[in-house]
């Protein structure tokens, strides 16, 4: 643990008295004024202890930062006015939905809200979908505490929720043969000290046999067979649908704007859809988790957003490799995220990236050319055949780390009826199933102090996904088409998606009747033409299904108008 005098000496040395740190209420509060966001991050890093429970709270005024309030939905109604759920989950990312689903094992009124038009629109829908093996996580962190248990849960969870998951294995490749003994020792250490049991070293020849298109210069690799991939937004939606099937409620386009806290207790939560009176609040608000904590008068950590961009490559490039390749830089790197990698997705595309750039903008997911170039410069060293020509699209996500670079999974420190699931960044997708179980326990224990909490006898962990006809045998496919001929009408030629599948998405438990909502659920528009052919057709199907004019169909949010009406 760094001592406060030591921290202030270092801050003085680096920033000449512009910032200082003080310990208050078990937090390290860093305040002062700095020019750039990079300086702010550096100052807070100086004050932070990795994996510590004493968190840095960033109170620095940054001259570079243009204050931006969160983007809020335009919707205003009273649908939730007076609603009094037992549990209010804030955030429809992987954390929030998995917690909501586990809570439905109990007879509880669970309401999940998200300010976006769909689930998984922030980090949970904007990552590479790797189910991590935990090779790079140190003992003592919550990340490490959860990773092995969660990784082992994936097969069962994905089977229950009917989402594709492939344990394709991950390789960390090295081009310097002389490092082999050292890395071998590292693997042994990980195995016996940290319990990462499946890791082993493989030779360059072995690697060549498994992944012939990897660079010739690799001499050996760490192999992590427990590593896998999943569709991150697919899993998020599946969890949420299962929660809804078991009685939870999901309210999208619903933003928490304020909380009324009295005597260390949240009394009410204001939203654009009315005031809610929950017994317990779960903060799974991603990059906004510190803002939600502040609303709850329980601010004891700060999020410093970190942007990353991934490219998606055509399935034609998907044949180049079958696993996950990760670059581990042995140099003492200042960045906290891994150097990105190449991943063969469950949909047989390649995903290349991400990079890691500190930013104050929590919601700026605009892509930049430089990010793509940085990532490709790096990843072509792993696989020389990788080319930007195969890119079909790219996206940016924003991670939500604390300065301690660990998760915060605990009840409020000053406010009693809140549980934080914050600081969730990689490997947060992997750990979510296990974290959700712990938060479920915390929530039930808390609620039992004021009400009886009984088992939900009707709880069914199984959710049936929408059939994926292109993956079926001809016989299975024919049988489904016989039952519903719309399965025989192909709307998206690139991904071979039928009208029947699109209608299934529009009739699913959490219907998001937008072009993007359908795309996230059944993939029309995900292929190489990027919706060029099918987006008017999908728009028309949505309009017909709901009996609305085409001009009322949206891409995603209420303002994302596609057409302006009849000509």
């Amino acid at each position: 643990m760094k001592r406060i005098e030591h921290i202030n000496r270092n801050l003085q040395k680096r920033f000449g008295g512009a910032v200082r740190c003080e310990e208050r209420d078990g937090c390290r509060i860093v305040s002062g004024t700095l020019d750039t966001w990079q300086q702010v991050v550096a100052a807070c890093d100086l004050a932070a202890d990795k994996y510590s429970k004493t968190h840095v709270v960033n109170d620095i005024v940054c001259r570079e930062v243009k204050p931006a309030s969160p983007r809020l939905p335009s919707l205003r109604d009273t649908a939730l006015e007076g609603d009094a759920p037992d549990v209010l989950v804030i955030g429809g990312g992987i954390s929030g939905v998995s917690i909501a689903r586990e809570l439905t094992k109990w007879k509880l009124d669970v309401l999940l809200v998200d300010k976006e038009a769909d689930l998984a629109l922030q980090a949970s829908g904007r990552n590479d979908g790797e189910v991590h093996p935990g090779i790079d996580l140190g003992k003592g962190s919550l990340k490490h505490y959860y990773i092995r248990r969660a990784n082992a849960m994936y097969g069962r969870i994905c089977e229950e929720l009917d989402v594709p998951f492939k344990r394709v294995g991950q390789y960390v490749c090295f081009d310097k043969g002389y490092l082999k003994p050292l890395v071998g020792l590292y693997c042994l250490w990980r195995k016996y000290h940290d319990g990462i049991e499946d890791t082993k070293l493989i030779s360059g020849e072995e690697l060549k046999m498994r992944e012939p298109n990897f660079s010739e210069r690799f001499r050996f690799a760490i192999s992590n067979p427990s590593s896998g991939c999943v569709c991150p937004y697919g899993l998020t939606i599946a969890y949420a649908e299962n929660a809804v099937q078991n009685g939870a409620r999901v309210s999208l386009n619903t933003a928490v704007t304020a909380m009324q806290v009295e005597n260390g207790k949240i009394v009410s939560v204001s939203t654009n859809r009315g005031t809610i009176y929950p017994k317990l609040v779960i903060n799974a608000a991603g990059v906004f988790a510190d803002d939600v904590a502040a609303m709850a008068d329980d601010r004891f950590f700060s999020i410093h957003p970190r942007r990353g961009t991934n490219s998606i490559l055509d399935t034609k490039a998907g044949v180049l490799m079958h696993s996950i390749a990760s670059i581990k830089e042995l140099s003492a790197s200042k960045t906290h995220s891994k150097g990105g990698g190449i991943l063969h997705t469950v949909h047989d595309n390649l995903l290349v990236g991400p990079d890691a750039v500190e930013t104050w903008e929590k919601e700026n997911t605009a892509t930049r050319k430089e990010s793509i170039e940085t990532v490709f410069d790096k990843q072509t060293k792993t696989m020389p055949k990788l080319t930007q020509r195969d890119i079909i699209t790219y996206f940016t996500g924003v991670r939500a780390p604390t300065f301690e670079e660990d998760f915060i999974i605990e009840p409020g420190r000053r406010t009693e009826n809140i549980i934080h699931c914050a600081g969730i960044q990689s490997p947060g997708l992997t750990t979510a199933p296990a974290v959700a179980l712990d938060i479920e326990q915390m929530a039930v224990a808390f609620l039992r102090k004021q009400m009886p909490v009984e088992k939900n006898e009707k709880y069914d962990p199984h959710r049936k996904g929408i059939p994926v006809l292109r993956d079926m045998s001809d016989e299975e496919r024919a049988e489904l088409i016989r039952q519903n001929p719309d399965y025989g009408v192909i709307v998206c030629r690139c991904e071979e998606i039928s009208k029947g599948e699109i209608l299934d998405a529009l009739r699913s438990p959490i219907c998001v009747p937008t072009v993007d909502g359908v795309k996230k659920r059944v993939r029309p528009g995900m292929g190489r033409c990027q919706g060029g052919f099918c987006s008017p057709l999908v728009t028309k199907i949505i309009a017909d299904e709901f009996g609305i004019p085409i001009s009322e169909v949206r891409k995603s949010s209420a303002e994302s108008v596609i057409t302006y009406g009849k000509i």
Binding site: A478, G532, S535, S560, T563, I567
Partner: protein, 419 residues
């Protein structure tokens, strides 16, 4: 299992022409179309100008398609619409074609295949446009679908990137529907579309064309709000400091077409890097025996008349194909040429009337096209100008050029200074 002599995949202008000619040449023919109606992209091309070469009159796209649809109706061709090919495998010297439709999954057998699968549009991400992902970014074909097939206005104030023909057509179309077209921006230093379209779609409506400009970034969270436009240098790289921001609610992209050959690739058909279509011989047979290609799947054509012509040729040759052996010899192209189709000659076939299509790489004035065989000039033609957007067509009697198995055939262009 049903058996056919010729199975044609794609019911657009190429496939329709192929179906008619295959039937006329006595083949039992199956035409497969994935949409509910025949006609392909012509259905949404309601402007005129189709059929000038073929019929000597200006037709709209649907009218042009209808002439062929009427014709195919008169033949014995079996037509299946709303039917999608999921898989093709070689079988018993022919092909097993698996089809999905409302009737289920069915596999039919065919002696030959004609791939008339058309092309798709390049997307915003394929031309490295960055920024947000708002509604209002359309490829020109998508905007055209909304406008002409669904009758919906997709833009009020738009920027068009790329001077490809569909982009030019859409500039005029949206103007006519009351939208403001701020301008057409083209990264190249010369227009990509036909000269006649530059005049009829832009000049006549006072829509400016900005050459050597591109869109580098888009803004707007929900619907597009503005775009950043930069000047580009000769290598089409944006020049820093030349950025300007333009307010608009739509960006319409006409930045190139890519022949659709994913099915062809699964069958091992070799594709040309220049055309992105199958490498073929004068009979339009690809590197794979019994697989023919035509229309925009073969190479992107400028006029539908040529699409139909290649369809007819492919359909006829597929009908007549009986597994004859082939002897391929290359037609090499000089560096001034972007490509020529066909790229090969089959010395075993009748080459007395070979239709050759080509495009120049750059705008060339006063030049001379030459065809040499083993160093000897066998054909030459002078051109006042050649422009990459305008495809050129020649009919040549290759049988008269004394071509032998190892002959060196070259199609080249001399640019003359003293003409």
């Amino acid at each position: 299992m049903q058996n056919y002599d010729v199975t044609i995949i794609g019911g657009g202008p190429a496939g329709l022409a192929a179906a008619i000619s295959a039937c006329q040449n006595g083949a039992k023919t199956l035409l497969i179309e994935r949409e509910a109606r025949l006609g392909g992209i012509l259905k949404q091309c309601i402007h005129d100008g189709f059929g000038l070469v073929r019929f000597g009159e200006k037709l709209s796209g649907p009218e042009y398609a209808e002439r062929f649809m009427d014709e195919v109706e008169k033949t014995d061709c079996e037509i299946r619409v709303l039917t999608f090919v999921t898989r093709i495998k070689r079988m018993n010297g022919g092909f097993a074609v698996t089809l999905v439709s409302r009737d289920g999954v069915q596999t039919v057998q065919s002696r030959t295949l004609v791939l008339a699968t058309g092309c798709r549009e390049r997307t915003a991400k394929q031309v490295a446009i960055h920024g947000t992902r708002p509604a209002g970014v359309f490829t020109a074909g998508t905007a055209q679908h909304f406008t002409n097939l669904l009758g919906e206005l997709p833009a009020k104030k738009c920027v068009i990137l790329g001077s490809g023909d569909i982009g030019l057509i859409m500039a005029r179309r949206l103007t006519l529907e009351g939208a403001e077209v701020i301008g057409v921006y083209e990264a190249k230093s010369t227009p990509s579309g036909l000269t006649r379209n530059i005049h009829q779609c832009l000049h006549d409506y006072q829509i400016p064309l900005y050459l050597s400009h591109t869109v580098t970034r888009v803004f707007g969270q929900d619907r597009l709000e503005k775009v950043e436009i930069s000047r580009v240098d000769e290598s089409m790289t944006p020049i820093p400091g030349t950025e300007q921001i333009i307010d608009c609610d739509a960006l319409i992209l006409s930045v190139g077409l890519i022949p659709e050959n994913e099915l062809a690739e699964t069958l091992g058909v070799s594709l040309s890097a220049a055309t992105k279509g199958p490498i073929c011989d004068g009979q339009l047979m690809s590197s794979q025996e019994g697989i023919f290609s035509c229309g925009n799947a073969l190479h992107v054509n400028d006029l539908v008349d040529y699409v139909s012509e290649s369809g007819e040729l492919a359909g006829k040759n597929a009908a007549l194909y009986r597994g004859q052996s082939r002897d391929w010899v290359d037609i090499h192209t000089g560096k001034e040429l972007l490509y020529c189709v066909p790229q090969k000659l089959n010395l075993q076939a009748d080459n007395s009337e070979i239709v050759l299509y080509f495009r120049s790489r750059d705008v060339l004035n006063d030049c001379r096209l030459t065809l040499t065989v083993d160093g000897k000039e066998v054909f030459a033609k002078k051109y006042r100008f050649l422009r990459p957007p305008e495809m050129e067509r020649l009919t040549l009697d290759f049988s008269s050029y004394g071509i032998r198995k190892n002959s060196d055939i070259r199609l080249e262009i001399e640019v003359k200074d003293d003409d």
